[in-house]
């Protein structure tokens, strides 16, 4: 049944300061509302429990994407359209670029924000695997000040996030890889950035499984950097640290024991049956995508 519109309140504050003060003085009363592409769907079904919203859409302080030498910082109100248009995202973070193109369709990308995608906390969120493999951190802001947490610590459980009722996500900060620091090199041709979203169709689908893989070629004598993150196969989006370690320790990708690797991956995921898919299919897809990722790595590194 549809919601009764007169039951719902929305206020539009003038600036960030006013917003944070209200979230602080009337805690648990107001809920943040950015582009609304998730909340309005729930509203329309009559199941939106919260009734009082504070619109963030006009807060210019949060609408930015800026870079420094070592970080790309995406403000909470940057939409997936804004993100796709950013040349650093296109060049250095292709997984995030691809994921942004696969969120809904253009009309959704024009309204949906990266921060909103994270705060909505779906285990199938399109952008989350990218942020996990790029080791993003979140800057959270409240009237009390700012705190920074690694994105890996943000999702506490199914639909539970580390965000106080008086806090907002201010920005998402993604480290840029620099030549000579660590194993990977910014813009290094031999890095592999791999992303697949598997859903019923390419546009407008919520994924059954999503897979992000990053392979950064090692400096001479050093191991490569391997990072794998999966969506839709656990209560939260996950990094597969043990699977990564197993790949990292192999001298040769082509000669590794794939069945042992597969078992390791299956230890790390916990797919379930739900309206979008079932656990057997999800496990099979994870397995195939892992193989496909490694094939891409191998093709790019066949001369090593």
């Amino acid at each position: 049944m549809r919601a009764l519109v007169s039951d719902y309140q929305m206020i539009v504050p003038k600036n960030l300061d006013e917003t944070l003060k209200l979230l602080h003085s009337e805690q648990n009363v107001w809920s943040p509302f950015a582009g609304g592409t998730d909340l309005m769907v729930v509203f329309e079904t009559g199941k939106l429990e919260k009734k009082k919203f504070i619109s963030l859409w006009n807060l210019k302080e949060l609408k930015f994407i800026r870079e420094s030498d070592d970080t790309l910082e995406i403000g909470a109100l940057a939409t997936f359209t804004d993100i796709q248009r950013n040349s650093i995202v296109q060049r250095e973070f292709p997984i995030l670029y691809q994921a942004s193109q696969l969120v809904g369709a253009i009309a959704i990308q024009n309204r949906a924000t990266l921060a909103g995608n994270l705060a909505n906390a779906s285990p199938a969120a399109d952008s989350s695997p990218a942020l996990l493999v790029y080791e993003a951190e979140l800057e959270l802001i409240s009237a009390q000040g700012v705190r920074t947490i690694p994105y890996t610590k943000f999702h506490l459980g199914y639909k539970q996030i580390d965000l106080r009722p008086d806090e907002l996500i201010r920005s998402i900060r993604i480290p840029r890889r620099k030549p000579g620091v660590g194993a990977a090199v910014s813009g290094n041709q031999s890095d592999v950035h791999y992303f697949r979203k598997v859903g019923t169709r390419r546009a407008q689908a919520i994924s059954k499984v999503s897979f992000a893989g990053f392979f950064g070629a090692g400096l001479p004598g050093k191991s490569p950097v391997v990072r794998i993150a999966l969506g839709g196969v656990a209560p939260v989006v996950i990094r597969c640290y043990q699977t990564e370690a197993m790949i990292q320790n192999q001298a040769s990708i082509s000669q590794m024991d794939f069945s042992a690797l597969q078992l390791k991956l299956f230890e790390e995921i916990s797919p379930i049956d739900d309206i979008r898919s079932n656990k057997e299919y999800r496990a099979a897809v994870c397995n195939n995508l892992l193989g496909d990722f490694l094939k891409h790595v191998e093709l790019d590194h066949r001369t090593e």
Partner: protein, 159 residues
């Protein structure tokens, strides 16, 4: 029960004209356009951002009007299918749609037109690929045509 929410005044431009309406802040832009402004060209399909029938341009960018609380449209510039249809620049698109059979039942058509106008505003017509047309229209569902005639109509319009 909640303390009562009162309607507020929303001022915005629609198809080049200034309007002020009294509406609840969480009223959907779609409903305000159709019911308060009687601009019934914009259709409701799914009501959840899936089908694109309610597409309008908001500050020049395509959005699903069913997903926009009207409070967030305050101060914005909206173009609906009525604005698109009355612009002589779009006459060729409309005629080609009719000639090619890109319209059958007509419910998706206003949203399709908005998506095509949105696509053409940035694309270079001579290099527009089928892939670009398809992804430009990927958020608009049609249950009649099978899309081939719609894509053909876009192709003919730009050629």
């Amino acid at each position: 029960m909640n303390d009562s929410v009162s309607a507020s005044t929303i001022a915005f431009r629609v198809n080049g004209q200034s309007h002020e309406v009294k509406a609840y802040p969480m009223a959907r832009l779609l409903d305000v356009l159709r019911e308060d402004l009687r601009l019934t060209g914009t259709k409701e399909g799914c009501g959840e951002g899936e089908c694109g029938a309610c597409s309008v341009l908001m500050n020049g960018e395509i959005v699903d009007s069913c997903l926009i609380p009207v409070a967030q449209a305050h101060g914005s510039d909206i173009t609906t299918i009525e604005g698109i249809a009355s612009d002589p620049l779009n006459q060729k698109l409309i005629d080609t749609f009719v000639e090619e059979g890109g319209i059958q039942c007509g419910i998706c058509t206003p949203g399709m037109m908005v998506a095509i106008v949105n696509l053409l505003k940035t694309a270079t017509p001579s290099t527009l690929s089928d892939e670009q047309i398809r992804s430009g229209l990927a958020g608009n569902l049609c249950r009649c045509t099978g899309y081939a005639k719609i894509i053909e109509a876009v192709r003919k319009t730009v050629s």
